[in-house]
């Protein structure tokens, strides 16, 4: 079974530009999560999408946004890039438990975003 896939592997942008990162979840998983792993800041929750809806959002400015498509894939958009946005962006997916709550999250390899 294929795992979570992310593209591109690396992305280099300049300050002020926009970045789009993509994620394909494990087949059968309906939830997609985005996390930022910046040097010295650990893993920080960004967004949770389930069934096409944004379910929760971390403490990030509105220029971080995303969406989930009908096939459950997702993209993360970062507008007006700043130098401190340089980080590894990780996507995770999970199925839902029988009761409806989200289950274990499985991570992709990440997209390394560098802002110059």
């Amino acid at each position: 079974e294929a795992g979570v896939t992310q593209s591109p592997t690396h992305l280099i942008k300049t300050r002020g530009q926009q970045a789009t990162l993509r994620c394909s979840p494990i087949s059968g998983h309906t939830s997609v999560y985005w996390y930022q792993q910046a040097l010295g800041l650990g893993l920080q929750f960004l967004l949770w999408y389930d069934e096409g809806e944004e379910r929760n959002r971390g403490n990030f400015p509105p220029r971080f946004s995303g969406r989930q498509f009908p096939n459950y894939s997702s993209e993360l958009n970062v507008n007006a890039l700043e130098l401190e946005d340089s980080a590894l962006y990780l996507c995770a997916s999970s199925p839902r438990l029988a009761g409806g709550s989200p289950d274990t999250q499985y991570f992709g390899p990440g997209t390394r975003l560098t802002v110059l």
Partner: protein, 112 residues
């Protein structure tokens, strides 16, 4: 209240030894506690996870011990191997938020 505190920050263990990493939390709404292993340049990989109705869970060389009253949980790696050298993250989640709150990470080095 949303924090998960992880210690130690780094750990050096001899091959065959036991590696122990500890985490503490405050939010009693957390209902799921996974541990992830991350190698450089890779995404975190799930190692083992526990829910608060269980005090211990073992999978191979990896064991989670969970103390609900103390709001602490720990990862024990038995017979540590050089291939275990990686960064380990504990995490906690309350199901209604979906998000994982991660500890700061522990860099483990197992010396041959």
């Amino acid at each position: 209240q949303q924090q998960v505190k992880q210690s130690p920050q780094s750990l050096i263990v001899q091959k065959g030894g036991i590696s122990i990493i500890n985490c503490a939390y405050e939010n009693t709404a957390f209902d799921y506690f996974p541990w992830y292993q991350q190698f450089p340049g890779k995404g975190p990989a799930l190692l083992i996870a526990i829910r608060p109705d269980v005090s211990e869970k073992k999978e191979g060389r990896f064991t989670i011990s969970f103390n609900k009253s103390a709001k602490q949980f720990s990862l024990h790696i038995m017979d540590s191997q050089p291939g275990d050298s990686a960064t380990y993250f504990c995490a906690a989640r309350s199901s209604n938020t979906g998000k994982l709150i991660f500890g700061q990470g522990t860099t483990l080095q197992v010396k041959p």
